[in-house]
Amino acid sequence: AGRGRRRASGLTGVVVRPHSSRSAHLAPWVPVVGLEIHAQISSNSKLFSGSQVQFAAPPNSLVSFFDASLPGTLPVLNRRCVEAAVMTGLALNCSINKKSLFDRKHYFYADLPAGYQITQQRVPIAVNGSLSYSLCIDNKMSQMVTKTVRIKQIQLEQDSGKSLHDDTRSQTLVDLNRAGVGLMEVVMEPDMCCGEEAAAAVRELQLILQTLGSSQAVMAEGQLRVDANVSVHHPGEPYGVRTEVKNINSMRFLAKAIDYEIQRQIEELENGGTILNETRAFDSKLGCTVPMRDKEGQQDYRFMPEPNLPPLILYDAKSLPANMNHQQVINIDWIHERLPDLPSVKRKKLVEQYGILPEHSFTLLNEDGLAEFFESVVKQTQMKPKKVIGWILKDLLSYLKQHSLTVKESPVSSFLLADLLNLLEKKEISSTAAKQVLAELWKGEGKTPLEIVKEQKLELLQDQKELEQICQAVIDGHENEVMAIKAGNPKVLNKLIGLVQKKTQGRSNPVLVKQLLEKKLSG
């Protein structure tokens, strides 16, 4: 039993100890999580046909003869989909196969009209990559660790249609709009050990795909679908029997489903049970995984080379044939040179350029368009970026979240916010007043910050004499406090400052007020 006493080293993550003393093993259980992610390629047309790709179009309105598998139709590979896969492969540090192959994977299902899916089983387009992602420890934003998961491969394949089961009338309705849409299947090695890690890795992948534009990767629209392979074992022993968890349709459920499945397997094993190699579905209402009905028992997909598609040949600068039409070839180097900054690079740049905290850079990139908004505000104001970030994260972001708005939908443009911050920076208004102006700006009535300041008389009192008079009035009206200060309790000064602020309705500069009060009291 001594063997089992070893604990997994810190970074391999969560170590779950047995609950039950009945267990023969006293060693902790180590969960192992691998992911298969299907990302719909953002493209005008499908992978092998000219039909349009569009979410929520009327049923069966985007179906070509090929998509419906009419006899005699042939696949024609969509160049855009190949480029998207190459971009994604490069962004995930994969080696791109200059020659990849297409295969048929056979199974009968109502929404698979040809009776097979064209995929890349033998030689996929990209292999052997890696993805770095960060997550915070104990939910503290300030304690982030960076981890890496290996990418086994990326393969191009067709999406299936959708089946709708009408149980009352016992019929199945089929919508082929999705049939044949291009997918990238990203296979992540089992390098993760809990739901949180898996969710962080998928989130980072999602950001990368969105940055590249290779997929819109919206989980709610099915553009990013995650299947998790989960097993548990004791350190030093072979991997346990794994289950595949499907039907995970949000990032939140991803972590939940995996953690539930890990716990279920541990409890099952602790109680002397065994784990079946099965497919389980996550039931988001019940918060648990349940076995899926396995229709054909052990599936044999009878893979076969797709004879209607020649090998997919890609070139680099070296192998590019001299007199080849550039429209007809795909040059990996050309795509590489044009890759946009990836999220990790963007974050690093934000931290270096603006001196903001690393965790702030994560928040900036987590919202689509927020980093750009931030940079735009910084460009238009004299305020230091370190101060701007507070307004972006505390004020703008929380407002948007509260009202479920995207950055693009923000009623306050970066220009208006910069305008406001400039007033603050030039000491024309106080920060209290700035918040009031912002509250007014959210209404989106088309007023400029300056107009609001004027309307509501929020500008700082520039008239020194008036301010002095107000200070004097406060001193005169609060003898007790004045006594206390003079007796050596400077904290009470803050109360007086507050009172002046109140009298001026926030229009006084607290620093100036402090100076005035101190001067008067020391006199």
């Binding site: 419906a68 598998s69 009419l70 006899p71 696949p75 009209p113 009776g115 004879p307």
Partner: protein
């Protein structure tokens, strides 16, 4: 030639009691409609193209928009395709008149054109003077009617239609010999072009990696004209050549002394009739005497070809037939217990035994535990077979000369004694290696057998060297002067017309 009036002659020929049954019943009317349409499109000498007004038949496994496309199967009975196969569209664009869809073995799986849901195709030569004079009924109890011979297959309907003068040319398909085999039995030219030269878009597949649209005509020049209209890149078929194809006219070869003709010794196959063997050596002598170099060559892996073909063919069949589930189109069973039971019943009712048998074998070969042992091995053997050809052509041989079939056409009653699998294995033996290697090959009608039936020889050329292949075939065609079919019940007037037409070919 003058296209106008051709169709009228065709109608007389088709209604003459030739009993070719080349066309599937009922399809002629649609074609006749097309013909008058084509005539309208080309008033006052404004031809649409080189095929203006030329009646052409199309094997019923090519999609034709608005006209039933059945593959001679219950599965697709009544199926109206919404689009034209690229080859059909090209024919129409050139002004050709689509006469009708021709009969075949179900989904082109067969070598007799006897296994389709519309019944067997009869060889027009069964009703020729030449055959009737020489064939003697085996016994008196057998009536003469039962003596009719098969066309070969699976493009038997197309071969019969061309052979019986129903049309000038026909499209077939060729996966293991399906164009050349019936061409040989029906005494017509049958060209299987290089894989990738003609688009397969719209051809309902048998084996995608071997299928090619085939061309059936009465002379080699006509085949060249058709090839010129059909060949070239098609954006809808990724396996077609990238380059454009330049149509060519065939020169009249006068000097064959620079040619090297290869005689592959492995084509002395078991079951090769002595008659055909003799004809083959006579043909070789013909070249030799004309000054050509005739050499014996070896294609050592030929003997593995048929079994290898069987594995690859059935595997692709199993895959290609998976789409016929009764959901999107075609036959759907009334079985409503579950989707799975509906699939099963649909496929049981829709496919004949031959198709179902091949699906079963194919799925067996594709099972995970068998894949390496059968499919991958067969692919390797296929590569060896293709390499055999490469080596021979690299050694300086220009064209290979072989028999097309083991014997002349068998009487139907005799043919159906063996099952489809055995027959296909025997009948494809001389033709399917060219499909494995993707090479162009052509059947040239050569002589009549002792029974008065056509016998053809096959020329196999280098990849994409159709011009050389057809040029040699044309020279050979001229030397052998294959006799005209004499349909005994056709009136004298019509046979005069036919004789006239024989010399006035398409070009």
């Amino acid at each position: 030639m003058v296209p106008r009036g051709v169709a009228a002659r065709w109608r007389r020929a088709a209604t003459a009691p030739g009993k070719g049954q080349g066309s599937l019943g009922g399809r002629e009317e649609a074609a006749a409609g097309r013909e008058s349409h084509a005539a309208c499109l080309s008033p006052a000498g404004q031809p649409l193209g080189i095929l203006d007004g030329i009646p052409i038949a199309v094997k019923d496994n090519f999609n034709t928009a608005g006209i039933e496309t059945t593959c001679a199967s219950n599965m697709l009975k009544g199926y109206i395709s919404p689009y034209n196969a690229t080859v059909v569209q090209k024919l129409l664009d050139q002004g050709a008149v689509l006469l009708g869809k021709t009969n075949l073995d179900e989904f082109a799986m067969g070598s007799g054109s006897t296994d389709g849901v519309f019944g067997p195709v009869r060889n027009p030569w069964s009703y020729s003077k030449q055959y009737k004079e020489k064939s003697v009924p085996k016994s008196h109890s057998e009536d003469k009617e039962s003596n009719w011979v098969i066309t070969g297959g699976s493009s038997g309907g197309s071969a019969a239609a061309v052979s019986s003068f129903t049309c000038f040319a026909a499209l077939g398909s060729d996966t293991g010999g399906s164009t050349r085999n019936p061409a040989a039995h029906c005494g017509v030219v049958g060209l299987k072009p290089t894989y990738g030269l003609i688009s397969r878009h719209g051809l309902i597949p048998l084996v995608n990696s071997m299928d090619v649209p085939g061309i059936l005509t009465r002379c080699v020049d006509d085949a060249a004209v058709l090839l010129g209209s059909l060949a070239g890149h098609d954006p809808k078929d990724s396996t077609t050549i990238q380059d454009d194809f330049k149509p060519f006219e065939l020169p009249n070869l006068t000097d064959v002394s620079k040619l090297s003709i290869g005689i592959p010794k492995e084509y002395h196959a078991p079951g090769l009739s002595s008659e055909i063997l003799a004809l083959w050596s006579k043909a070789a002598d013909l070249f030799r005497k004309a000054g050509a170099k005739v050499v014996e060559v070896s294609l050592p892996h030929t003997r593995y070809s048929i079994v290898c073909y069987h594995v690859l063919c059935t595997a692709e069949v199993a895959s290609n037939m998976a789409r016929f589930d009764g959901l999107e189109y075609g036959h759907r069973s009334d079985m409503k217990d579950s989707t799975e039971s509906m699939y099963a019943a649909t496929r049981r009712e829709g496919f004949n035994d031959v198709v179902r048998g091949r699906i079963l074998s194919g799925n067996y070969f594709l099972l995970k535990q068998n894949y390496e042992k059968y499919f991958v091995k067969a692919q390797k053997v296929r590569r060896l077979i293709a390499n055999d050809f490469v080596k021979v052509f690299r050694s300086g041989v220009d064209i290979l000369l072989t028999p097309t079939t083991l014997s002349d056409a068998a009487p139907y009653t005799e043919f159906i004694q063996e099952d489809n699998r055995t027959r296909s294995a025997q009948d494809d033996i001389l033709t399917q290696a060219a499909n494995m290697a993707g090479l162009p090959a052509i059947n040239v009608p050569t002589a009549l057998s002792e029974r008065g039936l056509p016998v053809g020889l096959q020329f196999i050329g280098r990849s994409f060297q159709e011009k050389q292949l057809l040029t040699v075939a044309k020279w050979f065609e001229k030397q052998v002067q294959f006799p005209m079919i004499q349909l005994e019940e056709v009136k004298k007037h019509d046979s005069d017309v036919f004789h006239h037409q024989k010399s006035a070919s398409l070009s």
